[in-house]
């Protein structure tokens, strides 16, 4: 039987920036029962003609190969690149609101400093931090904030790119 170990994959998809293209990609995942851990999308060409979608997904090696092949055969897809096959950089941004006063509030600020999170808004009862990093760094920071008054999180999902001279084009 084929390998049943699950692996995570970060896949970049360069698409024609046309109406419905994101629905096509997402519909492919839901329609075929693939998993989306997170997803980002934005135009990347100067003229706005192409967008880059980055999907973090999980599956067996066979399923990951299927996902790539299925994405590649969509008509508005230029290129599919599995970044997790090689060295790559992946970053996510989170805006994190922590409510509290006193020692807990001071501790939240100290930890934020250690994680290099920026304070982008503050009141006497709250901090809003901006933190950029790999997904596991964000997860770790959020765990620390939980007992300190973590109230709300907004995360962007992963943007990723290959290391070195390799490009998607």
């Amino acid at each position: 039987m084929s390998d049943t170990t699950l692996r995570s994959a970060t896949i970049s998809v360069l698409v024609e920036n046309e109406s419905g293209v994101l629905a096509r990609v997402i519909g492919l995942f839901s329609g075929r029962g693939y998993n989306i851990d997170n997803l980002t999308v934005a135009p990347v060409e100067r003229d706005g003609s192409k967008s880059r979608i980055t999907v973090v997904t999980r599956g067996t090696a066979m399923v990951i190969e299927q996902i790539k092949a299925q994405l590649d055969r969509l008509v508005p897809v230029y290129k599919v690149l599995d970044l997790s096959e090689g060295p790559h950089l992946a970053r996510e941004l989170a805006l994190i609101k922590v409510l509290g006063t006193g020692e807990k509030r001071a501790e939240a600020l100290r930890l934020a400093d250690a994680f290099r999170a920026r304070v982008i808004d503050a009141t006497t009862e709250s901090f809003t931090f901006e933190l950029t990093g790999a997904t596991d760094k964000l997860d770790a920071f959020l765990e620390l904030m939980r007992p300190l008054g973590l109230a709300e999180v907004s995360r962007t999902g992963v943007a990723a790119i290959a290391r070195g001279v390799k490009t998607i084009n």
Binding site: G20, R24, G31, E65, P76, V77
Partner: protein, 597 residues
């Protein structure tokens, strides 16, 4: 880009631009149904004579008719429906074409652009609804995009793995003037399917095949889609190798059924020899088939000891359910050409002794005669459905015949007992299994081949799903023959209930059937009925002699089941054989098997 792009010519209306694009794409017939949003297109159709419009009675039938047209000609089938219900009615047909890789372009009307999203009368989110039902779809929002989209729709429909493409046309776009350009030959921006196989993979495949001791070739609808030349090369390659060959349901006719190397159809209702050859082979060459669950049976027991070579135009079909050793991405025609050349070039001698032994084994399986049945001949005996197909086949031999089917037992008997010698003569709903497919598909085939014999082999339940198309046959004098194997049951449902659900025939009896003879007559067709075995040949002869549409109501044995059968969740070597054979018990169906369809 194409260097010779002329300045666009401004057409008076988008509708005229659409028709001109259709003509440039070689379209001579459209299957459709009018409505408010497409009135400008119908008006433009009225004012020209080059494109014929066939008015169907339901939009689903328009799509199946276009499929029948496409599958019997190799051309792109074209459908025209209105907005809202027109488009939603077409959805079943679109999914059918998607599953069976049939090239279609479906034009749908849409409310004017300024009303989109307003819940306007007969508005539906057609591109949203049909996104997973098509290979690709478009909503044209600007007149300057209209003609480019039209040409692109045809390119996408017919190239790569073919499929249905929908173009949604808002009414204001059909009315406003639109620029026209001829189709260029510039490559598409993002869509460039690979058709030429990697030569290294071909060499690997040939090296594997040359050393095979128990090989089998398994060819599917991809060979038919690649055109008649691909089928010719399949014959050439198979004869060159001397290997046994089996066809899928979709591939019937890709290899001549009368050829001694042909071991019959494989899969759930395939022959004993085809399935055991698949199970026991050491090298399998799959060309243009997709390891469908109806073919593989239980995956972890599927052909357990073979090296597998899989050639397919769709990279997503490779390693989807069955891991293969040599993947080849390419068009079946290009793959076969390359295989023949590489086979001739490779000086390795195939293992003829092992092959002879393998054929000896296959002949033992063949001798089991798994399609055997007994037709009682005493006058008044009830007709066996298998016999009805066999007699129909004998009576039509030598004539240019196109067969379509509905879905169910009759479909499987047609696949088993009607023998196809050429591609594009057999049209059945393989992937989606759409009851109601056969009559409209036959209409489309008859429109494409007015002088040929076109027969819809039907069941009494399926035929009622698009029976309204009798009106279309009458209007256009299409002499389609509808050959109903009437067992008064949704036979395949009944068979599964008998085998898997303790013979509890829940809602599978065809209650309150019409009198098919009178029904035919009410649509100006000829109605015939055979109730006993001694009626059968006369009814077939009469049916074939009339140059009008005919419904032949063939009353067949209600209890007959389709055998051989690989029960759900079972392996190829766990086939059930029919009552003619002693060993009918077979394996018990597992709980997992019960959950499969």
């Amino acid at each position: 880009m194409d260097g010779t792009i002329a300045a666009p010519e401004l057409m008076n209306s988008g509708a005229e631009a659409v028709l001109r694009a259709l003509k440039a794409q070689g379209v001579d017939v459209i299957f459709g149904y009018p409505g408010g949003a497409v009135l400008p297109l119908y008006d433009a159709l009225f004012q020209q004579n080059e494109i014929k419009h066939i008015l169907v009675r339901h939009e689903q039938a328009a799509v199946h008719a276009a499929e029948g047209y496409a599958r019997s000609t190799g051309k792109v089938g074209v459908v025209l429906v209105t907005s809202g219900p027109g488009a939603t009615n077409a959805v079943t047909g679109l999914v059918d074409a998607l599953m069976d890789s049939i090239p279609l372009v479906c034009l749908s009307g849409q409310v004017p652009t300024h009303l989109i999203g307003n819940d306007a009368f007969q508005e539906a989110d057609t591109t949203g609804i049909t996104r997973p039902a098509t290979k690709h779809n478009y909503l044209v929002k600007k007149s300057e995009d209209l003609v480019r989209v039209m040409h692109e729709a045809f390119l996408v429909a017919r190239t790569g793995r073919p499929g249905p493409v929908l173009v949604d046309l808002p009414k204001d776009i059909l009315i406003a003037p639109a620029p026209y350009r001829e189709p260029g030959n510039a490559p598409h921006r993002s869509y460039n399917p690979r058709t030429e196989p990697d030569p290294r993979r071909i060499e690997e495949a040939v090296a594997m095949l040359k050393r095979a001791e128990r090989p089998v070739i398994y060819a599917g609808g991809g060979v038919i889609n690649a055109g008649p030349e691909a089928a010719r090369l399949l014959i050439e390659f198979t004869r060159l190798t001397g290997f046994p060959i089996t066809n899928t349901l979709m591939g019937l006719g890709a290899y001549p059924a009368s050829d001694p190397l042909f071991v019959g159809m494989l899969g759930m209702h395939g022959t004993y020899e085809a399935n055991l050859a698949m199970h026991g082979c050491d090298v399998m060459l799959n060309i243009g088939a997709r390891f469908d669950d109806r073919v593989t049976g239980r995956l972890n027991a599927f052909s357990p000891n073979s090296k597998k070579i899989h050639a397919d135009i769709d990279p997503a079909s490779i390693n989807k359910s069955v891991m293969v050793d040599v993947p080849i991405v390419g068009d079946a025609l290009a793959v076969l050409k390359a295989l023949i050349a590489a086979w001739k070039k490779d000086s390795t001698q195939p293992n003829r002794a092992a092959l002879a032994q393998w054929w000896g084994q296959i002949d033992v399986w063949r001798a089991k005669d798994s399609l055997r049945f007994t037709q009682p001949r005493d006058p008044g005996s009830i007709i066996k459905p298998q016999y009805a197909i066999e007699q129909l086949y004998k009576a039509t031999r030598g004539r240019e015949t196109f067969i379509t089917t509905e879905v169910g037992q009759h479909q499987m008997w047609a696949a088993q007992y009607f023998r196809f010698e050429k591609p594009n003569r057999w049209m059945t709903s393989g992937g989606l299994g759409t009851m109601g497919y056969g009559l409209p598909a036959a209409m489309g085939a008859q429109v494409a081949h007015p002088d040929a014999l076109v027969i819809d082999i039907a069941g009494e339940a399926s035929i009622l799903m698009n029976i309204q198309e009798m009106g279309t046959l009458a209007q256009y004098r299409l002499p389609v023959k509808i050959f109903i194997l009437n067992n008064q049951y949704m036979g395949m449902v009944r068979q599964w209930q008998e085998l898997l659900h303790g013979s509890r025939y829940s809602s599978s009896y065809s209650e309150a059937l019409p009198d098919f003879v009178k029904l035919a007559e009410s649509f100006q067709a000829v109605g015939l009925r055979a109730e006993k075995v001694d009626d059968l040949d006369r009814v077939i002869a009469e049916m074939l002699a009339v140059d009008k549409p005919v419904i032949a109501d063939i009353c067949v044995d209600q209890k007959e089941n389709v055998f051989p059968m690989i029960p759900s969740g079972a392996a190829h070597n766990e086939m059930l054989l029919g009552p003619e054979h002693k060993d009918t018990s077979g394996p018990a169906v597992s709980n997992e098997g019960m959950a499969l369809v």
